[in-house]
Amino acid sequence: MTVLGTRTGVRIRRDHVAVLVTLGLLVAMFTAGSIAYPAFGSGQVVIDLFIDNGFLLVIAIGMTFVILTGGIDLSVGAVAALSAMLCAFLLERWHWPVAVVLPLVLLVGAGIGFAMGYVIHHFEIQPFIATLAGMFLARGLCFVISVNQISIKNPFFTEWAQTRIPLPGDMNLTPTVLIALAVLAAAFWTLHYTRFGRGVYAVGGNAQSALLMGLPVTRIRIGAYVVSGLCSALGGVLFAFYTISASGLHAVGTELDAIAAVVIGGTLLTGGSGYVLGTVLGVMLLGTIQTLLRFQGTLSSWWTRIAIGALLLLFIVLQRLLGSSRPGR
């Protein structure tokens, strides 16, 4: 029998390499920080990363779905701001109960995602354009609701913001972290153990093939934007928990942070390759840079942006290099 194909003992896949590079960078940065600032190397700093970036993590997870299908969602920051705004407005002005407001807000986020996905799929509009429109729409609606910042005095929210769950070793975390981790677990399970999740990868790999293989491409592609919309809305709610306020100026540029986190986490912008766990590492890396700058104290916070930009460039070049070394014919 002739031997065809490749059988290698240890399979190092290019999508793994990207994630491992991010992990290595994160560990290196953390070690360096711990050496420079003794207070840096504590468990609480790690937990704080999640507390401060929980909302970004949730949004970036949604973004991962979209990017895996080969799309992009620029509306996430605006949708997050809108859902925070909607929360604040319904709770504070109309005094609706939390049990109604929260599901409603999530539904609105998913609805916006659905609308964008529908337009992108059925009218074959570039995701960049369709979600840019979604972004302007959502951002505009924020200001329709209220031009000024609304602070949230709802007891559920204020209590939530103050809740600390104690952990052994004098550490504590917030419910936000738990929610973010639950979203992460659900996303991981969805992507790797459901047909929808595998479909997301297939569509990102080759949408035409996916269609010919009989996959419900329409449902999958729109579904990815629904997931992203839902995650954005949830991220917005978490952001409202975090700041106990809402404003049309909140979460500006979050879409770019989310995209950066996803890309740094090793997901290919062309779709089909990447892991939600990589996205976590990407968010952590962004958070670590911020924390490091805070410990350093003298550098302006704009250096975060510069660092993110440099990292992004590095990772896109890395993707390119890894991509071109693939055996292709």
């Binding site: 065809l4 194909g5 490749t6 059988r7 459901t194 297939a202 990102g204 093939s209 055996p327 292709g328």
Partner: protein
């Protein structure tokens, strides 16, 4: 003989302006490999599309196991037991082999995919068809042949009554084709009816039991492969005798060996693509590049056109040293290049035939100096006629043409610029015997007019038929240059490829 598993009776299908099929019958029996033959535009693709439900027939019916069915689409066809594997592998390169076999119908428990089960069953399927590949490997890391086999494995696992293979061998080398045939024979022995579409006569004779021949959308007949000679088959397909093919053979002594070569390459190479090589092409000379798939044929051709920049060496065109850094520079020097992949690298499918033809000329003239309408019409008309592009309608969108005619449009595009050196990369791949002979004839007559031609082809017979000189490549290295004399045979060239020398 058991009853036919699938019958198509009196199938007709028309498109605006074209009668694609006219009363065609096709019978497929379980446990046989049936070849569907015909030139480009004969209606093979349309017939397959009717069979798989992409098109609905205007008349006639499809019977499956004796009962008439109306196939509404590829999904429905699959559900009925008719699976198709296309020339382009329609799988996802970013997923594993196992997942590609099962995606869309993964075994799951309570909505949770059972990966172990997938890997196990994929392994079993692959073993059963003797495809030796790790089910956990990424599909994109496998060779095209393996990808094709995986597509077949997927197809037969979905449903195993009728398997349609639409030109599966176009991109495979000899060993890979053998591997594919082994799988096809195994499936046949399992009772699957295999419909095999191919342009390679040798392959059809190698593997098929019976064949149906179409010409111009009509059924010519159904034949037992063993009872039909090749000459008769070609006659049936083209409607004319084989003589056009035979009269072509050019001998190595004719033409060339005058003064200055059109192209002289010295030590030109590119890391990872092809090692440095020397090459000379004289006016009126056809130089063939022969070698197996992946031997560096295309890479060498691309360097000569500036599509890739060489790392080393010098190129002289008509005596002037030039730096071929971009196709633009090459075009400016009278070099034309017909790429291998006509769909993605050459033809603009949305433009009309006429627009495609004048594209390069217009580019050479500059966009600010449009060609006059009358000059354009005259040029386009002349080349459509000279190359016998059919239908001879300059306003037809290029996508509606058959493969062979698309290739002619591309050729016309470059010929119109009156190149000194014409590089043809697999100009006859995936097109039928008749069109092939025409293109070959055209190349020979171009050389007769003094054009230098660099001809790249996977088919040795073809290279031998029209080249004056053959450059043999192996493993990304030019290993030999042989004058194409009467003693050179395809076997001889294969021997050079295998051993590096003639025996």
């Amino acid at each position: 003989m058991p009853g036919a598993v699938l019958e198509m009776a009196g199938v007709s299908k028309g498109f605006p302006g074209v009668r694609a099929l006219e009363g065609v019958d096709l019978r497929l029996y379980p446990g046989e490999i049936h070849a569907l033959m015909g030139e480009n535009g004969a209606g093979k693709s349309t017939l397959i599309k009717v069979l798989t439900g992409v098109h609905q027939p205007d008349a006639g019916e499809v019977r499956l196991g004796g009962t008439p069915v109306s196939v509404t689409g590829p999904q429905h066809a699959q559900a009925l037991g008719i699976s198709t594997v296309y020339q382009e592998v329609n799988l996802c390169p970013n997923l594993t082999v196992a997942e590609n076999v099962f995606i869309g119908r993964e075994p799951a428990r309570a909505g949770m995919i059972r990966w172990r089960e997938i890997r196990r069953r994929a392994g079993e399927l692959l073993t059963r068809l003797h495809v030796d590949v790790d089910p956990g490997a990424l599909l994109g890391s496998c060779s095209l042949a393996v990808q094709q086999l995986v597509a077949i494995v997927r197809a037969v696992d979905v449903s195993a009554k009728v398997l349609v293979l639409d030109e599966p061998t176009s991109s495979l080398d000899r060993d890979e084709v053998e591997q594919l045939f082994a799988v096809m024979r195994r499936l046949r022995d399992d009772g699957v009816a295999v419909l095999f579409v191919s342009h390679f006569l040798d392959q059809v004779y190698d593997v098929s039991d019976r064949m149906t021949v179409l010409r111009n959308g009509r059924l010519v007949g159904e034949f037992r492969t063993a009872e039909l000679s090749r000459a008769d088959l070609v006659g049936h397909m083209t409607g004319r005798a084989l003589s056009t093919l035979e009269q072509l053979h050019v001998t190595g002594e004719s033409a060339r060996v005058q003064a200055e070569p059109v192209l002289r390459a010295r030590g030109v190479g590119r890391k990872g693509a092809i090692e440095p090589f020397d090459l000379e092409i004289h006016p009126g000379e056809v130089v063939g590049l022969a070698g197996l798939l992946g031997s560096g044929r295309t890479e060498a051709a691309r360097l000569m056109f500036g599509a890739d920049a060489p790392d080393s060496g010098t190129v002289t065109l008509s005596g002037d040293p030039v730096a071929l850094r971009s196709p633009r520079a090459a075009i400016g020097r009278g070099v034309a290049f017909c790429p291998e992949n006509r769909k993605s690298e050459g033809l603009v499918e949305d433009l009309t035939v006429g627009e495609n033809i004048v594209l390069a000329l217009q580019a050479a003239a500059g966009w600010l100096r449009p060609l006059s309408q009358s000059r354009r019409q005259e040029l386009v008309g002349r080349y459509i006629e000279a190359l016998r592009i059919s239908p001879a309608d300059p306003d037809m969108p290029a996508r509606n043409l058959s493969g062979g005619n698309q290739q002619k449009v591309l050729l016309a595009r470059w010929l119109i610029t009156r190149p000194k050196l014409l590089i043809l990369d697999e100009p006859t791949r995936g097109i039928d015997v008749g069109a092939k002979a025409e293109i070959q004839k055209l190349v020979v007559s171009l050389a007769g007019d003094g054009v230098a031609v660099l001809f790249v082809s996977a088919e040795l017979e073809e290279v031998l038929r029209i080249s004056h000189k053959i450059e043999v490549l192996r493993d990304r290295r030019l290993i030999a240059e042989v004058a194409n004399t009467a003693e050179i045979t395809p076997e001889g060239v294969l021997e050079i490829i295998a051993n590096g020398t003639t025996s």
